[in-house]
């Protein structure tokens, strides 16, 4: 059956020749193989190194923010400086600073030292005195003890982030101020401890008083709204598409839609939120309600896709068995299939929510760039969230905000790790392998 055999030019060479020819190229080929394998391994190592550098840098930048220096001062509420009729008008900060200078044993003929001292302390001290005097005017003339964080630049100095090695003109604190700080430390007025304020205070323009409470509560409220909307709607939509929908135009359109929505940039969702929820519906700007609505729309495609694949994984024999004993379509799905698919659905949902926790761009669009002091009271009040807080602090000019931003990132990543770990735990514990 073969065509007339031609004189061999390769396909009929003696085996010895072939083998020699093959072995000649072998070394180069194996070298190429080793190189190629090395490129692959190198790519993976580079990716891991990137992650290490990223997390390492942020960890290094942020860990110091979890510690803060506080100062404890007895303050004499000097009646000569306060007008009882106008307690608000007195310059408490300067009063405290002057007393501090005296207590440190430094002479201050010109009053410059007092002004310098004022800048290393936090305005919080003055506010504390004001509040206490307002509440109880009889304090005027007595001595009260105050406890407050040290000023932000002083805090950085104590932590060793910068010091005298930098030329005075390039620093925020003068040599004079550094001397004051050193003396305060020598006298034992300053102590360091865990920065609980980071978690108990909300945002402030003063870095030493800025905390994440408002952002955490805002994020929690927002995620709650997102979960309450995205989980039921997404699960039910997936149930419909997977179990009930006939193969017609409508379902095809819906499926194409969902795949496309999953890839739409997040900022476009923000624009949608701005145009529809804030301008057309008039919902309050910068509220967890609107944020939750926008993120729910963003999370919806992910939840639908995850639920669908969980439903697909349930074998048809379950459905057939249920139908076989006379259950209706709806009963089969809701009593048998969906409960079995639940672990997968929960895992996918938690992962989608963890992702939503980190979204920033759409929240900026709906107004969460504003400075929000205090904790949001309801889902309709203006609030901040962890990622937007990080963005705001990153833009701030005070150096002390750098370490706080990194600390906020650590907190955010912490929450996300917990959520992902919960999802993985759920998956390994409850997922059935069919």
């Amino acid at each position: 059956m073969t065509d007339a055999a031609l004189p061999s030019a390769g396909a009929g060479r003696p085996a010895r020749d072939i083998r020699t020819a093959v072995e000649k190229r072998l070394k180069a080929r194996h070298a190429a193989e080793r190189r190629f394998r090395f490129y692959g391994l190198a790519a993976i190592l580079i990716a891991i190194a990137f992650l290490g550098v990223l997390l390492g840098r942020i960890g290094l930048q942020g860990y110091s923010a979890f510690e803060t220096y506080t100062v404890e001062l007895p303050v004499y509420v000097d009646p000569s400086r306060i007008d009882p009729a106008d307690v608000q008008g007195a310059n408490y900060d300067l009063m405290i600073a002057d007393q501090l200078v005296t207590r440190l044993g430094l002479a201050d003929p010109t009053g410059d030292l007092g002004l310098a001292a004022k800048d290393v302390l936090s305005p919080d001290l003055g506010f504390q005195v004001l509040e206490q005097v307002r509440e109880d005017p009889s304090l005027i003339g007595r001595t009260i003890t105050l406890d407050a964080p040290i000023g932000d630049d002083a805090d950085l100095y104590y932590k060793g982030h910068y010091g005298r090695e930098i030329v005075e003109d390039d620093r925020t604190l003068t040599d004079q101020q550094l001397t004051i700080l050193d003396r305060m430390q020598d006298k034992g007025m300053v102590s360091s401890g865990f920065n609980t304020g980071l978690f108990t205070r909300s945002d402030s323009t003063q870095p030493e008083l800025a905390g994440l409470l408002g952002a955490i509560v805002g994020s929690a409220m927002m995620l709650a709204v997102t979960a309450l909307l995205a989980v039921p709607i997404g699960t039910l939509a997936a149930v419909y598409l997977e179990e009930f929908a006939p193969r017609n135009r409508f379902t095809e359109i819906v499926e194409v839609n969902i795949n496309n929505l999953a890839a739409v940039p997040s900022i476009v969702y923000g624009l949608l939120g701005l145009a529809v929820f804030i301008n057309w519906m008039g919902l309050p700007r910068s509220s967890p309600l609107v944020g939750g609505l926008v993120l729910a729309l963003m999370a919806l495609p992910t939840v639908i896709i995850a639920t669908r694949s969980s439903l697909k994984a349930v074998p048809p024999s379950i459905r057939e068995a249920a139908l076989g004993v006379g259950a209706s379509r709806t009963q089969t799905v809701f009593h048998h299939v969906l409960p079995l698919a639940m672990p997968g659905v929960m895992t996918g949902t938690i992962i989608a929510l963890a992702h939503a926790l980190g979204e920033t761009a759409p929240l900026l669009m709906i107004g969460m760039i504003a400075f929000v002091p205090g904790v949001p009271e309801a889902i309709t009040s203006a609030s901040s969230t962890l990622p937007t807080q990080i963005f705001i602090w990153e833009n701030a000019s005070e150096r002390a905000f750098h370490e706080r931003t990194a600390a906020a990132i650590i907190v955010l990543l912490g929450f996300m790790i917990v959520m992902n770990a919960a999802a993985i735990f759920l998956r390994s514990r409850f997922e059935r392998r069919w």
């Binding site: 080929r29 190629f36 394998r37 790519a43 840098r57 930048q61 839609n257 624009l271 949608l272 990153e394």
Partner: protein, 479 residues
């Protein structure tokens, strides 16, 4: 107040459920046949009819009540108010409503006739508000009652309550599925609507081809300074440049790591590396932005400055001088960090694509005496090429739509340049800048953001559709 109404409705629905259930249970005891449906379904049937119409009305009231009130007020304004401009009228109305509700009005001062008109309108607003509210609640109550009265008599053993209830459930499912379509419709409509307003002020041709982007609007006629130039080409070029740099990082690293994982790595390696890549994928983009702004930016600038300092005085002196001037916010920084972010994306997509190539092709190649690298280079990659191309397109789409990294790392200068050491701005950065400043909503400056948003949406949609289609065709080939 409204919560009490909702709570009342909820309690009413529970009551009707209980009534329906009780009725069928009683009927069952007397009748000889088994009822068609379980008792719970009968109860649910009554409860649904009692609740749903009323609920719809209440939600409509909450959502549109204010708007309705404003419309009624606006229909019959005092003559003094009608003389005002449209903007002033709407301010007047919202102030009147604020006064009526005891909230703080705007700082606008209304003198004389207008002041009196304000009071009158406020009173009217209060009346209308109360009418709408109490009337609405009463109507809702009526609907609930009617619903219950309609449904309860139908409860009987042969009544197919389960089918009816399941019908309602199906309707609910369809509505939930429709939300996905509604979202797309919403996105398209809102973008188009606002963009149309933008393009009526700025011609589309100028937007798409203009080379100058400085979205200032002269606030006063005598203000010195530019009036708006809305040529978006520098933004497109900036977006393209950053995307290109990002793909140059993510493409090779992502693809090679996918090749290693799918062809070379053992189970142990895969078990360790895949979670690490997942972590890299899960890091929020704002964190990448922070990393870019505070670590990568200064590091790169320092490096370039140092190289520049070495070159000064030598043959490349001019270049050296230039290198000393580069800023923190160069396109290279944003591009590299965005590339790092995209690595797991490219890697996992490519891994899927490579795994779809059938094992028989690999076997055929190994049986011929090919090494693994030869098999990958000559058989697997060519076979997987369409899929890989689709994966890369999806990554490009992601890069183009990325916001936080570029906002924090790139700059605001709209320059059409392909030099990675320059400061450029992208479409997404401008959208953020335009909408997070202080301006009222209608100025062309703000509407420009929607024009940019529409452009972004169209481009990413086109990329996604093409990419998904390619990947789908590729998958079908091997299934």
């Amino acid at each position: 107040m409204i919560w009490i109404v909702f709570a009342g409705l909820f309690l009413f629905s529970l009551a009707t459920y209980w009534l329906g259930r009780r009725k069928i249970v009683a009927a069952t005891r007397k009748a000889p046949d088994r009822p068609h449906s379980l008792a719970g379904y009968h109860g649910a049937y009554v409860a649904i009819w009692a609740t749903v119409p009323a609920l719809i009305l209440l939600i409509a009231l909450v959502g549109f009540g204010d708007r309705l009130e404003t419309a009624i007020l606006a229909a019959d304004l005092p003559p003094a108010v009608q003389a005002l401009s449209a903007d002033q009228q709407s301010l007047f109305l919202s102030d009147a409503q604020a006064v009526a509700q005891g909230r703080r009005a705007s700082d606008q001062a209304y003198a004389g006739e207008l002041g009196a008109a304000l009071q009158a309108t406020a009173e009217r607003a209060g009346r209308i508000d109360r009418t709408l509210r109490w009337g609405g609640w009463a109507l809702a109550g009526l609907l609930a009652l009617t619903g219950a009265l309609f449904a309860l008599p139908r409860i009987a053993p042969q009544f197919r309550a389960r089918n009816k209830v399941e019908g309602w459930v199906s309707a609910l499912l369809v509505i939930c599925s429709a939300v996905a379509v509604l979202t797309t419709v919403g996105i398209v409509l809102s973008l188009v609507y606002e963009s149309v307003r933008f393009f009526s002020a700025v011609p589309p041709l100028e937007f798409l081809t203009g080379m100058q982007w400085s979205p200032q609007i002269a606030i006063r006629a005598d203000q010195v300074g530019q009036s708006g130039a809305f040529g978006a080409v520098p933004l497109f070029v900036g977006t393209f440049l950053v995307m290109l740099l990002a793909m140059m990082v993510a493409g090779p690293i992502g693809l090679f790591s996918a090749i290693y994982l799918s062809e070379y790595a053992g189970r142990g390696t895969r078990a360790v590396v895949k979670p690490v890549l997942e972590i890299l994928a899960g890091v929020p983009t704002v964190v990448y932005g922070f990393f870019a702004a505070l670590t990568v930016g200064p590091a790169f600038r320092g490096a370039f400055n140092w190289v520049g300092s070495l070159l000064i005085g030598g043959p490349l002196d001019g270049f050296g001088q230039y290198l000393m001037t580069v800023q923190n916010q160069m396109a290279l920084v944003a591009g590299v960090v965005m590339g790092i972010m995209l690595i797991p994306f490219v890697s996992s997509l490519s891994d899927d694509i490579l795994n779809a190539v059938p094992q028989s092709l690999r076997d055929g190649s190994y049986a011929m005496g090919a090494t693994k690298s030869e098999t990958v280079k000559k058989v697997i990659l060519p076979a997987a090429l369409p899929g890989i191309a689709g994966a890369f397109l999806l990554a490009v789409s992601r890069a183009v739509g990325e916001t936080m990294i570029v906002t924090m790392a790139a700059g605001l200068q709209a320059k059409a340049t392909l030099n990675p050491l320059e400061t450029v701005t992208t479409v997404t950065v401008q959208i953020v800048t335009l909408l997070t400043g202080d301006q009222e909503f209608d100025s062309p400056k703000t509407l420009a953001a929607f024009g940019l948003g529409l452009t972004l949406f169209v481009i990413t949609l086109a990329l996604n559709v093409v990419a998904l289609r390619i990947v789908q065709a590729y998958r079908e080939q091997y299934d």
